[in-house]
Structure formats: C-alpha cells, structure tokens
C-alpha cells in the first residue's frame, strides 16, 4: 500500500472520528444525561444478543443496495433508482410469496423475480440515456416515485388484504427465509448479501465486462477510443445494479421482519447505498464493512433514543458529516501533499544512490 492509498484509508477513519466527536458535542449540549447517551450509542449494540442481531439484520439491505450502487457508480452511471428498485423488488417478491407455497422453490422464485424487476426498473433511465441522451441522474431520481405509487396502487387494489389496513395478504410460511440464530431475526439473507458483495467484486475487478465498466467509468473517451461499446456498458451496469438492489428488496420482504407487504413509503435504503458506496470507495468487497458501521451506528442510536432523552436524528447529523468529510477532496490536502512530497523525495534519493 503506498502513501496515497494509506492516506485515503486514514482520511475515512478520521472523518468518522470527527463526525462522532461533533455528535458528542451536540449530545452534551442537548442532553441531561450525556454520558449515559454516549455510552448507549457506542456500546449499546453489544449489550445483548438481540441488539447484536439487530445490527446484522439491518446490515443486509444496506449491503445489497450498496453493492448495486457500487456497480453503477464504477461505470460512472449516477443512477439513483436503487431506491425504487428495492421497493419494486420487495413488492414483486411479496406478490410471488403470497401465491406460492412450495418449499425452497417459492423463495427462490420470489427473489429471482425481485431481481429481474429491479433490473428492468433501473434500466429505464439507462435506455432513456441511450436513446434520448436524457441525464440518468435526473430521470432515475424521478422514477423512484413511480415505484412508490405503483406499490401503493398494488397494495390498494391487487394484493391488499381487506381484513388488514394498508397491508397485503400474508406471505406463505414456505417462502420466508430461515432464521439463522435463535433469539434474533438474523436470517439467511446475510449469507446471500455477503455472497453478492463478493460476486460484485469479482465481477468488477476480475471479469472482462467489469474491466470495461471501470474503464468507461474512469474515462469514457478513453474507453471509446479503445474500442469499448459505451452503450453496452451503460446498459449492463444499470441492469446489474438494479438486479442487486431489487434482489435486496426481495430478501428484505422475505425476512422475518415482515409478514405482509406494508411499504407505503420509500424506505431510504437506496440513499443509504450512496453512503455505503462512498465509504467503500466503489468496491463491493468493502460494502459489508461499511454496512456494519452504519447498522451499528443506527442500532446504537435507537437504543440511545429509547433509554435516554437524545433523539434518533443525532445520527442523521453524524452520517451527514461523515459523507461531507469523505467526499471533500481538499480535506487534509495539506497533509496529503506532505505525504506525497515525502515519498517523491525518498524516490529521488534512491535514484541518486543507484
């Protein structure tokens, strides 16, 4: 690892620490019991098996959408419809899971459909970009509402259980994902999630198409000049990113958390994915770690909110600061320059000696 890379890792860690420090200051200002609150925030998740389970459980959707966004952002396709893909993925998975009750086959079919629908969904902005040069950032942002209201329509008119309010019929038991540890809600989805992160890494860094994606993402002109089909890259990156996000929605739906489809608003995992992608520097392999961090922070915050007078929003502030610091290129640039200068000077000396 050279200095520049070490610096990037260091900067991420430092950003996290600074953000936490700022949160502590705020907690001290607003709380009657600040020490208590900070204690719950930092070690709360470790205090019981159930709390630890909560951390793992909330990592799962983050890994999926995070990996999806990593794939799209690596190709410099700033597609923000992961949010909607996750939503329709959950919707379709519930439709399948309501109607199928075959063991093993049912969850597989539900997840497969969720992925496909997610892929088709995120591909809409991609196709619009190819055919009409519509900017994918804008179209993908707006299309998320399509997912939300389509979900609401389905809930009200097609899969809604007349006996329940704003909820679908019950998903069949056979289609649910099995719980891995008793006393928690940690389910089989974590294994799929980690597999997806690893496969995402292999795809981006070890396959021909992944190479094409990254080359295009770094310099489209260069990719074109090298003979790479940009249209193919735009399409494949967004199809795949959407597939993973949709799959994530399906997994979340089939988890023990839900018995029925009840999503009447967007859950925000698509946005969280951008945080995950930023923290993991677009490499899917790091998404489980970034997801762990975020999930831990949120679990800690909700324990803190339950036990003390500090509200959950404090964590939103922390998250915001982290992202601002990580993306701020000039943050610590003086220190970075010193590192690089040191390295260059050492290289000069070496040359002279040789």
């Amino acid at each position: 690892m050279n200095n520049a890379k070490r610096f990037n890792a260091l900067r991420t860690v430092l950003s996290v620490l600074i953000a936490l420090a700022i949160s502590f200051v705020i907690i001290f200002m607003v709380s009657e019991q600040p020490v208590e609150a900070i204690k719950y925030l930092l070690v709360g998740p470790l205090t019981s098996k159930r709390n630890m389970g909560n951390v793992i459980e909330s990592m799962i959707p983050l890994i999926f959408t995070g990996t999806g966004v990593c794939i799209m952002f690596s190709a410099n396709q700033i597609n923000l419809s992961g949010e909607g893909a996750f939503h329709v993925g959950g919707l379709i998975a519930s439709c399948v899971a309501i109607n199928m009750s075959a063991r093993v086959v049912s969850p597989i079919a539900a997840l497969f459909c969720a992925g496909i629908v997610g892929a088709v969904f995120t591909a809409i902005p991609a196709v619009m970009k190819i055919t009409t040069t519509a900017d994918e950032m804008v179209s993908s942002l707006m299309i998320n509402y399509l997912a939300l209201y389509f979900g609401n329509y389905m809930l009200n008119n097609v899969i809604g259980d007349p006996k329940a309010s704003a909820a679908s019929y019950k998903l069949t038991e056979a289609s649910k994902l099995p719980v891995l540890f008793d006393g928690t809600r940690v389910h089989f989805g974590i294994i799929i999630a980690i597999a997806v992160a690893i496969l995402g890494y292999i795809f981006l860094y070890r396959t021909k198409i992944g190479y094409e994606l990254r080359l295009t993402g770094e310099n489209e002109e260069f990719a074109k000049y090298s003979g790479i089909s940009i249209v193919k890259v735009i399409l494949i990156s967004q199809l795949l990113g959407g597939f993973v996000a949709g799959l994530g929605g399906g997994v979340e739906m089939l988890s023990p958390i839900y018995a029925r489809f009840t999503w009447t608003s967007l859950l925000g995992y698509g946005w969280d994915a951008i945080i995950i992608c930023t923290l993991s520097k677009k490499n899917p392999l790091y998404t489980p770690f970034a997801a762990l961090f975020l999930a831990y922070l949120r679990t800690g915050a909700s324990i803190m909110a339950r036990r003390t007078d500090v509200t959950l929003e404090i964590v939103q502030i922390t998250q915001g600061i982290i992202i601002l610091l990580v993306v701020a290129e000039q943050f610590l640039s003086r220190y970075k320059h010193k590192l690089i200068a040191k390295e260059a000077k050492a290289a000069l000396k070496e040359e002279e000696a040789a």
Partner: protein, 517 residues
C-alpha cells in the same frame, strides 16, 4: 545599481499532487534591469518555477528573496502587489472590452460606486505613452491583432506596478515583424530599469536580446551564463544533456505490394458543420511513413478521427487492407491491426486513476492470451505488464501505480507500449512526442522506424517539423482540409518550402504520387 540582485530563488523544490517532481533543485538570480532568459525543454520545469514566483504554486522547499528580504508569495494578487507581473502564453484578456477597460480591470479608478471611464481611458493612455506603446486604448480587444494583444498584456502588468516582468514564450504566437517590435519594446523597458524574465527555447532569440540565461534541465538549474560568453551549441547541449542527433539512421525502404490504407474523396464536417477535411485522397503501403505536416486546426484531427473510427459521419471511402470501414466499429477497426496514438494523451489516451497495468490492456484484453469467455487471465496480464514496463523503459514503482502519478513522458510510453504491443500493421501516430522529454521522444521515434522497416504503414501527424523531416518517407502538408503540397521524397524538401505550403502561400493543384494507381 548594476549587478544588484532584485530577486533570488534559492534551491526551489516543487512536487505536484500526483507526485511528479517538477522542480527538484532550481536556483535563479535576477539583477536589476536585465533581460534574463529562462531556457529549457518542454517539461524541464520552467513554467512551474514561474508559477512559484507568481504565487500560483507554493514551493515545497527553498526560499525567495526579493530586494534583499525573504518573502513568501501566496497568490498572484500578492505577487502583483510585490511588483511582479506575468504575461501568460495564452492571453488573459476580456475580448468584448476595450483596451483601456482591460488595462484597468480590477484596479479601476472609481467615482462613487461607478467606474470613472474618462479617467480610466486617460490613465491607460498615459501609461501607453510613458512606455512608447503605440496603441489606441479605445479599441475593442477582440478586434486587435495578436501582437497588440500582447502589448496590452504587458501594459496591464506595468499599470499594476510590475518591476519584474515574466514573459512566458512571448514570441510563440508572433510573426517575425511583431517579434522584432516586441524586442524593441523590451529593450526600452530594460532602459527604464525593469527586469524581465524571458522564457523561450528559441536560442537565436535569446542571443539577440538577453543579457544572461539560466538553463534548466529536468527540474534542475544547470547554471547561469552571460549570453555573450556562450554559444548556441553549448546552450543546447546544456539544455538537452547530451548531443541529441535529430536525424535517424534510416534503412532502405521496402514497400509491401498491398495498399494497406486507401482513402478516396474523404470529406468531414465537424460537429458545428464546418468543413474540416475537403475531398482528400491518398494511399499508403506497408513499409513507409507518411508524414502529415501543417498548422494545427487544418483538419488533421478530423482526418485521424475518421480513419480510426472515432467519427463515422464522413463522406467518401476509407479502406483498410481492401475492406471498406464505413460500417466498422472502433473495435472492428482495431482488430484489423490498426494502432492509434491519440493527440491528447490525457483525454483519450489513458485513465489516470487506473493502474499502469489496467491502462496497458484496454485494446487487447479480449485476446485469447489475456482472457477467457468471461474472466481476465490475471497471471498472463501481470506478466505481460512487467515485460512491457521493462521493454518500453517506463519509469514507475510497480505496474499497480496509477498512470496519473507518472510524468508526461512516461504516460506517453504507457500509451505507446499498449499501441505497439499488438503487432500493428497500420500505426496512426498523432503528435506522438508532444511535450515529452528528448529521451522518450527519441525512443518513440526509433520504434516508429523499426515498425516501418518491419512492413508497417505509419501515418505521422506532427507539429514538430524536425520530427516530420527525420522520419517521413512521403510528406503531405495539410492546409484548410486539403493537401496543399505533397512530396514523394521527404528528404528533398526544404523547411522554407514546407512553410510556404503550411501557410497556404503555395498550393499545388496536382499532387503527384499521392495515389498508388
């Protein structure tokens, strides 16, 4: 006053954010009232040193002493307030404003919250008169010729109280007459006690006007000399570091039978609809280098884009090895063994945030050697990367280093290594040695000749006439999208003749030998 140092830059070191050491150890001393040449090749670090002086970059080591006191210069504003002015190679003027407005811009005389225009014109006129500049200050900048624009730039600096004036390659854009006029002005400035830093690599100009010269080579100062005491030969040797022969040993030509690239009635409009390539026809066989000379912007870029498949909207016929490429993609064209060294290495030649290895395979990762149906063959790619780094003398820490961390010459070597390692039959080299050090340039030129000897067809577009002369077998001059001249034996063309064709003074109607029919 004589021999008094107004400015000393001692042991300046500047390292850029990508790790490139632009100034390693440079010292410069200016005496009051002299014209001091700063001499060096592209990439020697002249501009960096001047950016340090003008406050655009801050040095990593070294000290600046201005009028006997150590100073730090934080910004161009700071430099101006300390009496340092700079005239950039690309003028920094507002075209829609008048000369007077440009001169007073930012330091305008005011009346209340408004600019006092009368006073502005008056003071602009005064300063022009004071320095004997023959300028109508009410003219709009967009309407005046280049030579006058430069005078406006100089006046702008003087108006802000510049005692030390930096001129970055001032003659590059001037005609010989304008250059003479500039020199007269500069000498007058010297008489008035101004100190001038004159950046150039034209040795005869330095001989003509400068008192002393500091010579730079690859980030170091090679010493300061009285111009009267040093010959141009000695200067060039110090600049380059060794005797570089610009003529290459060329073997006898052996042409292939087959015409490898055939172009007929090629016409290309640019995206604004302007005609850039006008009904161009030519042939090229294996075993020859076709040089294309010409002032930039005469259709060379558009010609190359059409030949390499980057632009498919052309009229006419392009055939590679007998196959019409009208419907071939860039990837199809590349698989016909065509290699392309692009004009601008950073925009289309590489991805600066990817590693050397990843940049070396963008045109050949699909080959069976380097990938299977789905996966890349990492071992083979890594091994080949190390081989190429050695073979092409790419200076780097490892194949994993990002290309953006390398120097210009080494980036170009990465590109050349990639393009030359596919055993090409046709090489299209667009400005292959622009802005890189002499060693790397000589290396690339030698390679081009080797490919020619091996039966490859080479098209060489270059603004460097020495390069064109020393490599080309046949030579075309582009002017306004056409060949204004064509020479079957590049060795027998004089520079003067070439110049006349380049400027469109001489235009041949019949181009003998351009087609092999």
């Amino acid at each position: 006053m004589e021999n008094q140092a107004v400015l000393q830059m001692n042991h300046i070191m500047k390292i850029y954010g990508n790790g490139v050491v632009a100034n390693e150890d440079v010292s410069l001393e200016l005496r009051k009232g002299e014209i001091h040449a700063l001499l060096g090749e592209n990439g020697a670090g002249k501009s960096t040193l001047m950016k340090v002086l003008f406050g655009i970059e801050s040095p990593d080591q070294g000290e600046l002493i201005l009028n006997g006191a150590p100073v730090t210069i934080k910004s161009p504003q700071d430099a101006i307030s300390k009496g340092i002015g700079m005239v950039h190679q690309h003028f920094m003027l507002v075209p829609s404003l008048s000369v007077a407005e440009n001169i007073i811009l930012g330091v305008a005389p005011r009346r209340g919250i408004f600019i006092d225009m009368d006073k502005a014109v008056e003071s602009a006129q005064n300063i022009a008169k004071e320095y004997n500049f023959d300028i109508n200050v009410k003219d709009k900048v967009e309407e005046i010729p280049v030579g006058i624009k430069q005078k406006v730039e100089i006046l702008k600096a003087l108006y802000r109280g510049a005692e030390i004036l930096i001129l970055d390659e001032p003659t590059a854009v001037l005609t010989p007459q304008e250059t003479d006029e500039l020199f007269i002005q500069l000498m007058k400035l010297r008489e008035k006690g101004h100190t001038i830093i004159f950046i150039s690599h034209k040795l005869d100009e330095i001989k003509k006007i400068c008192d002393r010269a500091t010579i730079m080579r690859s980030g170091r100062s090679m010493g300061t000399y009285e111009v009267a005491d040093i010959t141009t030969q000695e200067m060039s040797k110090l600049m380059v570091g060794r005797e570089v022969s610009l003529t290459f040993e060329k073997n006898d030509q052996q042409l292939t039978e087959q015409v490898l690239l055939k172009v007929r009635n090629l016409t290309v409009n640019n995206s604004q609809g302007v005609l850039k390539v006008d009904d161009l026809s030519f042939d090229i066989k294996g075993g020859e280098i076709l040089g294309i000379a010409g002032v930039e912007g005469n259709g060379q870029t558009e010609l190359i884009d059409a030949l390499t498949g980057l632009n498919k909207k052309y009229k006419g016929i392009i055939e590679i090895k007998g196959k019409d490429i009208a419907h071939s993609s860039i990837s199809d064209i590349r698989s016909m063994n065509l290699s392309h060294i692009p004009e601008d290495r950073m925009t289309s030649g590489c991805a600066k945030n990817l590693s050397i290895q990843e940049n070396l395979f963008s045109n050949q990762y699909k080959k069976h050697r380097y990938s299977g149906k789905l996966m890349l063959k990492r071992k083979a790619i890594e091994k080949r990367s190390d081989e190429l780094i050695q073979e092409f003398l790419i200076k780097c820490r490892s194949r994993k280093q990002n290309v953006g961390m390398l120097s210009g010459g080494n980036i170009q070597k990465v590109i050349v290594a990639r393009e030359f390692s596919t055993c090409p039959d046709i090489i299209i080299a667009n400005q292959p040695t622009r802005g890189i050090d002499v060693g790397a340039a000589a290396f690339i030129r030698q390679r081009l000749l080797e490919f020619r000897d091996a039966g490859c067809a080479v098209i060489l577009v270059s603004a460097d006439l020495t390069e064109i002369f020393s490599l080309s077998d046949r030579l075309a001059v582009m002017y306004k999208g056409k060949f204004a001249g064509f020479f079957n034996d590049a060795a027998h063309v004089t520079e003067d003749e070439l110049g006349q064709h380049m400027l469109g003074i001489k235009r041949d109607e019949v181009l003998e030998g351009v087609l092999y029919e």
